[in-house]
């Protein structure tokens, strides 16, 4: 399963999202959006300007939404 999480360094909800994946032993790729390409990719995928954005196999979740992530991951 391909999971990408778009983050910034100072974003606490990004840390919470990453901890959620670690706790559930799920691997993910992190993209820091201070990189121009990563930022544009995040905006294109989510149509908005806030982090974190989580992409689980093409399903986009904006913000740290544990319930939504659990639902998609069937946890």
């Amino acid at each position: 399963m391909k999971i990408t999480i778009y983050t910034t360094a100072g974003c606490v909800y990004c840390k919470m999202a990453k901890e959620f994946f670690k706790r559930n032993n799920i691997s993910y790729e992190e993209k820091d959006i201070s990189d121009d390409n990563a930022r544009q990719e995040m905006i294109d995928k989510s149509n908005q300007l806030g982090v974190p954005v989580v992409d689980i196999e093409g399903q986009i979740i904006v913000g740290f939404d544990e319930e939504a992530m659990k639902k998609i991951l069937k946890l």
């Binding site: 974003c11 606490v12 820091d32 300007l49």
Partner: protein, 309 residues
């Protein structure tokens, strides 16, 4: 089933109240959106007594672990209370999960949330340029123009955060001068990127798909003016989460629940309150925890006499 006490909120006040209620063997329910309160998103906390330095996440986790270690306590999370009514044997509370719970006594510790501008465009463009967390979202506005609304400490700090990334930062204050910390004001005033606009009241946020600018009233010459920006950060303080209980207890102009600070009692018998949501002058985690203890012990004493009421 009727609980002895329902605690609404999971910040330091709610958790302290919960620990003390549980240890008094009260049948207790906590209903909260999350644990940790407003500090859960803090980068670091350096004044929580007993911990030299912890992150907001660690603080939240610590509180949650402490409450979950108690017996006699049930937790409903994430769940928000939307209404409270009087019932024959105490109170009925209704939640956003369409649940209702009953208790003989209530302890309200639902804290505060960020104040919003409440102007046209704010809801529409939230997350589309309107933002509330500069440490989170500043990098998104690299090389763009942004505005920060609010001339207090939080506004000044947001402007400094943003100046590291943005091409241009407007700091909008509706007062005649900035009110934040003087040493931080100095940094802001010396920044080449930051332009301070005082005596200005923001009226409307403009844009199509994303924010493109805003209108403000320049109170110096009473003209409506417009500026082009792609981001607007709102830093105008907090407001109490007391709407759901306002018809039962007295609140002050700020919406804070007025309590007797010796007991945590509100104007309504059986309803106690603690922490940020009250008219406590000093909004501090340590004080909220202490207030939570007071409210729990008062609720305990109230319940001892409950059957006689």
């Amino acid at each position: 089933m009727i609980y002895d006490t329902i605690i609404i909120g999971g910040g330091p006040a709610g958790v302290a109240a919960g620990v003390y209620s549980a240890r008094k063997k009260l049948k207790t329910l906590i209903v909260t959106e999350s644990f940790g309160g407003q500090s859960a998103v803090a980068e670091n906390i350096e004044n929580w007594i007993g911990a030299k330095k912890i992150s907001g996440i660690e603080f939240a986790k610590m509180l949650e672990e402490h409450i979950r270690a108690q017996e006699n306590i049930e937790i409903k999370m994430p769940e928000n209370v939307i209404d409270v009514k009087e019932a024959p044997k105490g109170f009925d509370i209704m939640t956003d999960k369409n649940n209702s719970y009953q208790a003989k006594a209530l302890i309200i510790t639902s804290g505060g949330r960020r104040r919003r501008l409440s102007i046209p465009g704010e809801d529409k463009f939230e997350g589309k340029g309107v933002a509330y967390c500069s440490t989170c979202d500043a990098p998104i506005f690299k090389n763009k123009s942004v505005a920060v609304v609010g001339g207090g400490d939080a506004g000044l700090e947001a402007a400094i955060d943003l100046a590291r990334y943005a091409a241009k930062v407007y700091l909008i204050s509706n007062k005649e001068s900035l009110i934040g910390d003087l040493s931080i004001q100095e940094i802001v005033k010396n920044s080449e990127k930051i332009t301070i606009i005082e005596n200005a009241s923001i009226q409307e946020i403009l844009g199509d798909k994303f924010v493109s600018g805003f209108k403000y009233l320049d109170k110096n010459d009473n003209q409506i003016k417009e500026l082009n920006v792609e981001g607007i950060f709102v830093e105008i303080g907090s407001t109490a989460n007391s709407e759901f209980v306002k018809k039962l207890v007295n609140t002050n102009q700020k919406g804070e629940i007025i309590v007797d600070h010796k007991t945590g009692a509100t104007s309504h018998p059986g309803i106690f309150a603690a922490g940020f949501i009250t008219d406590e002058i000093y909004k501090q985690n340590n004080i909220s925890a202490g207030d939570g203890v007071i409210a729990a012990l008062s609720a305990y004493n109230y319940l001892l006499n409950f059957e006689k009421l």
